[in-house]
């Protein structure tokens, strides 16, 4: 299925792009991240990430559907 991934902060720099549309068999955001750690050289450990699908925070094991927009969120640092 086709999924759109957006990258921010350190992950954007490591991926070398802001956005990527890819064909994947990963069933969940955390599985997709594990896949991209290999192919894109992402270094942030998945244990400290939270995940957003379609601009909402979701649990790491939420099932993905075709067309979803996924963002891997490193610990936030606003304020």
């Amino acid at each position: 299925m086709k999924i759109t991934v957006k990258f921010f902060a350190l992950l954007r720099e490591q991926a070398g792009c802001r956005e990527l549309t890819l064909d994947t068999t990963a069933a969940t955001p955390v599985a997709l991240y594990a896949e991209l750690m290999q192919t894109c050289g992402l270094s942030v450990p998945s244990g400290i990430l939270t995940f957003a699908v379609n601009e909402r925070y979701v649990p790491a094991a939420t099932p993905l559907a075709a067309g979803d927009r996924v963002v891997f969120i490193p610990p936030v640092a606003g304020g």
Binding site: E13, V71, V76, G78
Partner: protein, 512 residues
Amino acid sequence: MFALTEQPIDAAALRASLQRPEAGAFVVFEGWVRNHHRGRPVTRLDYEAFAEMAQSEGEALVAEVEHGFPGVKIICVHRCGDLAPGDVAVWIGATSAHRDDAFRAARLAIEEVKRRLPVWKKEYHPGAEPVWVNCTEDTGVARNAAAYNARQTALPEVGEDGQKRLARASVLVAGVGGLGCPAALYLAGAGIGRLTLVDGGKVELSNLHRQGLFEMGDVGAPKAPRAAMALRARNPHVVVEALSSDITAVNARALVTGRTVVLDCTDNFATRLLLHDVCLESGVSLVQAAVHRWEGVLNVFTRGEGGCIYCTGMPRRPAELDTVGNCSGAPVFGPAVGMLGLLQAAEAIKVVLGRSGDDVATRHTLLVDALSAGITRIERPARAGCPYCNRAGERGGAAAAFADVAPLWIDADDLPRPGPQRRVALVTAEELAGVELPSGFLALHPADTEGLGQLAAPADRPLVLACPYGVRSAAVARALRAGGVAQVFALAGGLPRRAVGTTRPHGTENAS
């Protein structure tokens, strides 16, 4: 109102837009860019936002804070882009009628910004590579969690594995009152990974003597989000969710499903039975407690272990339950609810750790009496003919006919005339001085389980139990029913109080 901006923040304009005649207090928080971080000089910061989501999360958090503090108005603005030391990175203004709400709402708003707004910053240090703050494993969070838990992890019964179990656990605390506050406080302290608080009520002044998560400034506010705020401040490694709602037949199943354990800290029988049924049918352990005045009862219900609530003779007649079971508004000794709440936390943590057998009160009822400083443990076996247990695992199993179960409670007016039944008052010598023993009652010390066993042994004669408030006798009666004594009853409402000024027998205290 929430906004993200690339432009410098105009504090005067924001302040002016918050002015309104009904506001008597204005609190502002400004987050400034510092010229140092962890001992290193900082020359500038680059803020990056996931703009679409930051906008919606920011609007949501402002709405939640305003909802939690009725009458408060909030403006929150966050900068993006390149900032230099001294620049304002975040501006939060809160206005309210009185100062306390404005202080507390502004504080909550900045904590929520820091917790959930998808914004990151890159720090620039002279002569070194810039660093994305928090984006490496060494964020301090994991290191702090280990130190936070050190004294508990050092217990051989917990250890690293046990701590991981706790961190993976998801626990529902139903009711954030006298039981739920201490229970949730210690569950958060233990490092339970996900803690969900559910309570549809608001904080009242008369709650504060026993509900230690709340302060004077919380009076009138919804309980669950205020308690969550207090818990997050105490242990930031725990995810605390708050739901300002009552537990109903509509939402109970969704709230219970997937939990490691559920704590029933509610104060009414309808919810208690609902949670019991849903937990047993979902296979989730339930730690249930109830307190009346000085005394409390605790049970851990786990499917397939020990008796269920109906094995103990608990009736399903709402009218009967309503008259005896609801403790909302009743007199209560603060430390007694505190003790029971802590016992609930202890039992829940042991369930998460996988302790079993007699380590957990799954086959026992604990009776706690804060007035006489006693804890009594009564066996609570499964009853062979229990219609509910026979349908365990079936949805709606509790709908089985309970018509054959005799009511547990009897009124003083309905006591049979002196005859074949035995009447036993479970009272200490001290309590005996304050109550009237109705005709035919024999006094027995509550801890004298052997004596009670002998009295209960002839099953052909009904046994009526009483105690000062009706709680202890009901718990004992249920336990006896679970043990096969069918003809056992509890005196509803407890023993009549001795009238003030009444002389003791033999007239040894004469006020005149």
